[in-house]
C-alpha cells in the first residue's frame, strides 16, 4: 500500500508544471536562489507575454533569469533589480503592475463598479415598496364626493 501511494505521489509530482529553470542556472547560495525565484515569478517573459520568466523556455526569458541571478550575486536589492528591468522593458515586464495614475483604473475600477452596483440595488429596493403600497384611505370630503358621483350615476 505504501509503495503504491509513493508511486502515485511520484506520478503526480511529474505531472506538475515544472519551471523552465535549468539546473546549471541555479545559484549555489540557496537564499539567493529563493529570492531569484520570487523575482522570476513576477517578471514577464516579453516574448510569450503571459508567462513569467521562470515558466518560459524562451531564449530571452533565460537571459533575463541569468541577469536576475547575476545582479543578486553582485549584491543588488530586489527593488534595484526590478528598476533595472523596468528601465529596459517598461512596466510591462512586471506581472504585478505598480500603482500609478495610468493604472488607477485597473486597481480601483472593480471596486468602483461594485460600489455603483450596490448603490443601484439599494435605490431599486427602496423605491419598490412605495410603488406597491396601498392607496391612502379616503377622508370624509372624498367620501362625500364619491357618494355624490355614484348617486349621479344612478340617476342616469
Amino acid at each position: 500500500m505504501r509503495r503504491l501511494v509513493f508511486a502515485l505521489l511520484l506520478f503526480i509530482a511529474a505531472a506538475l508544471p515544472a519551471a523552465a529553470i535549468r539546473p546549471d542556472e541555479i545559484l549555489a547560495d540557496p537564499a539567493l536562489e529563493v529570492r531569484a525565484r520570487e523575482l522570476g515569478k513576477e517578471l514577464r517573459c516579453l516574448v510569450c507575454q503571459n508567462q513569467s520568466i521562470d515558466d518560459s523556455e524562451a531564449d530571452l526569458a533565460r537571459d533575463l533569469r541569468k541577469i536576475v541571478r547575476e545582479r543578486l550575486v553582485a549584491g543588488d536589492t530586489d527593488p534595484a533589480i526590478r528598476t533595472y528591468l523596468v528601465a529596459r522593458y517598461g512596466d510591462f515586464v512586471r506581472l504585478d503592475p505598480p500603482l500609478r495614475v495610468a493604472t488607477a483604473v485597473l486597481w480601483f475600477g472593480p471596486a468602483l463598479i461594485l460600489v455603483l452596483g450596490a448603490i443601484g440595488i439599494a435605490v431599486f429596493l427602496r423605491r419598490k415598496p412605495a410603488a406597491t403600497a396601498a392607496p391612502a384611505a379616503l377622508d370624509s370630503n372624498d367620501r362625500a364626493r364619491l357618494e355624490r358621483v355614484l348617486a349621479e350615476d344612478d340617476r342616469r
Binding site: 516574448v47 507575454q49 531564449d59 537571459d63 533575463l64 523596468v86 529596459r88 522593458y89 517598461g90
Partner: protein
C-alpha cells in the same frame, strides 16, 4: 430621471469605444521604454574587417536607423530588400544579435550588406539594454542620440512609407 433610459446606451457606447481601440491594437508590439531617452551605453566590436563596430558615440551627429538582426531570424531575411533600398536614403547601423559571426558574414555575402556600421552582440546583453524582445527590431535615433521610435518585426515598404521615412525627414531638419 427622465433620461435614465439612455444609461444602457451610454454604457454600450463606452464599452464599444474601448473595444474599437483595444481590438485594433496589436498586443504583440510594446512601446519602447527608451522612447525619447538617450540610447543605452554600449561599445560593440565590428563584424567585418574594414567596417567599423557600433558604440553609443556613433549615434550622435545625425539621425540614424539602428536595425537589430540575426542570420537565424527568418523575418530578417524578409525585410532585407526593404533595408537595402532604405540604406540608399538614410544611414542604417546594424546590431548583430546573438549570432555566430561566421553565419552573420555568410548572410551578408548572400544578401548584401545595407549597414554603414555593424556591432556584434553575441551574448545579447546590449540587446537587453535596448529592450529588444524579438528580432528584427528597428530603432530611430535622433542627432542627439535619443531613441525616437521603435518598430518591432520586419520592416515593410508600407511601414517605411508611413512611419520611418516621414520621421527621418522631420528629424533631418
Amino acid at each position: 430621471m427622465r433620461w435614465l433610459f439612455l444609461a444602457p446606451l451610454l454604457l454600450f457606447a463606452i464599452v464599444a469605444g474601448y473595444f474599437a481601440v483595444g481590438l485594433t491594437r496589436d498586443p504583440g508590439t510594446l512601446p519602447s521604454a527608451l522612447l525619447d531617452k538617450p540610447a543605452p551605453d554600449f561599445d560593440l566590436p565590428p563584424l567585418l574587417p574594414g567596417k567599423p563596430g557600433l558604440a553609443t558615440a556613433d549615434l550622435k551627429g545625425a539621425p540614424v536607423l539602428v536595425n537589430v538582426w540575426a542570420s537565424w531570424c527568418v523575418p530578417c531575411r524578409a525585410e532585407h530588400p526593404v533595408l537595402t533600398r532604405l540604406g540608399r536614403e538614410v544611414p542604417i547601423f546594424g546590431l548583430n544579435y546573438k549570432d555566430k559571426p561566421e553565419d552573420a558574414r555568410r548572410f551578408l555575402v548572400e544578401l548584401g550588406d545595407p549597414y554603414r556600421r555593424i556591432g556584434v552582440d553575441p551574448s545579447g546583453r546590449v540587446g537587453i539594454d535596448w529592450g529588444v524582445y524579438g528580432v528584427p527590431e528597428t530603432y530611430i535615433v535622433d542627432a542627439e542620440g535619443r531613441v525616437r521610435h521603435r518598430h518591432v518585426g520586419p520592416l515593410t515598404d508600407r511601414v517605411v512609407a508611413e512611419t520611418i521615412r516621414p520621421l527621418m525627414k522631420s528629424l533631418a531638419r
